[in-house]
Symmetry: C2
Subunit: 310 residues, 2 copies
Amino acid sequence: MKKPVIAISIGDLNGIGIEIALNAHTQVTQLIKPLYCINETMLKKASSKLGLSIPSDFHCIDVKGNFDIKEGTVSKESGLYSYKSFKKAINLCEKKKASALVTLPIHKEAWFEAGIDYKGHTDMLRDWFKQDAIMMLGCDKLYVALYTEHIPLKQVAKKIKTKKLTSFLLDLSKDIQASKIAVLGLNPHAGDGGVLGDEESKIVKAIAKANEFLGIEMFHGPFVPDTAFTKPMRKEYQHYVAMYHDQGLIPLKALYFEESINISLSLPIIRTSVDHGTAFDIAYKNKKPSHISYLNAIKASIHYLKKSSN
Amino acid sequence: MKKPVIAISIGDLNGIGIEIALNAHTQVTQLIKPLYCINETMLKKASSKLGLSIPSDFHCIDVKGNFDIKEGTVSKESGLYSYKSFKKAINLCEKKKASALVTLPIHKEAWFEAGIDYKGHTDMLRDWFKQDAIMMLGCDKLYVALYTEHIPLKQVAKKIKTKKLTSFLLDLSKDIQASKIAVLGLNPHAGDGGVLGDEESKIVKAIAKANEFLGIEMFHGPFVPDTAFTKPMRKEYQHYVAMYHDQGLIPLKALYFEESINISLSLPIIRTSVDHGTAFDIAYKNKKPSHISYLNAIKASIHYLKKSSN
């Protein structure tokens, strides 16, 4: 099978991203052809500071910029550079020069210092493509797509609407390769027949409508939330739809914290990301930061590749 | 150490409870002195139907009643008998003839058929003692006490009240032997400084008030819910307070479903219970139902014994 070309945005150069990219390169090239969005000058500065040699097949895509790396420091220059690297990686995907995009961690404060008005990668992607990205987190063993994300818990119930949830499920079905997906209920015991809440009736309808549209029984449920992540259930389902942030992320992180990654779906491009930050405290200290999440992000990018961008 | 005397309510005799009690008896007597709330006649009927002999030290406490066991069947007679067995066990605790109470599973429909107006053991205990029992579930590795239980998710946020939560924490502190307990936030990222919900400010106050009253820093938090159950956190904390049903029970059941048990705290007596039902489908079929939850319920009853009832 031909290895896909994947754009790697290099993240905040004052953090651990570049060290991970250099150290994991050999393993990464067994899976994909990486295109690193960083210029030669900055790459040399980082590798020399790290005391690491640059692999001969470390293909760089020029991203203009030249500044001194200040390890473990929030800096305007580094923030701006990570943003430009990200934009370049998006660009490569849009021009079909890359099939997907894997992001190394940026620092949100550094973006703020650089005058970049986004809270992070996903926020920027939503604005860039003017589309509601679906946020999915997980690993091979368990993926959780979030129907609602960063909103107060008290606002969740009123967001459960048949039409909106149906659209969400249909959008999701386009991007993930799974024959069945478990949809969770909202309330304890999935409402226990309406006694403990009635939002499940809307979830039932959304599932039925989505399946009817698809012509297959892809979406199952709504499942009782507290038994949905037990071992027998996880043997049946790899993909779940959670109604709210913690309903999905509590079990995911309880079970598979280190392995997990973040995926943006329902966009014209596939973007995956490590699930950790810039780790300024250990940057450029030869502490060999873990590659697990980065390699899993790359593996996931392959798995969720959009056929259209191959 | 002297073995504590524990009352065992026998559960629905048409289900698996009595089989578990007979099969686990030898193991159980290594931990406690069990007092089984069942009369000789019914015990003989059950053991003969099961083809099991009655251990010579199987101490029974008379509970009047005589009916034919109909395995795997909802019956008024069996429902009534399980209720009387439960009442007898409570009675033994109240009279200090037993230090705690372990319940084998009843069938809620059978209680209904028998005209018993409670949804289950906990419901009956709350009414009996006119006290708000605290429901805690878990196993040695992880216990979760529920601040709110069987209510719709949309009602949870408004139940977070400083005074009520402070009382809950203080009640809990009386019954559990732990130097520190993790209290969860309500919202994603524990509200992220108020941006994603502001109920955490009340939780902060309740924790401070409870700790001030106790004179020790027993309660920690509020913790970000989605990272509260990761391995490093679970190494630090054995006991958690969840703000709502699924916040606590999703991670517990994802991690330790089979081992878990149910404990009623903040009552004049300690009651623990298996976390499974009557399993009518396998009753009296020589399928050797698992004892794990029953043995764990007994171990927990010892651990959480009220000093006053020794």
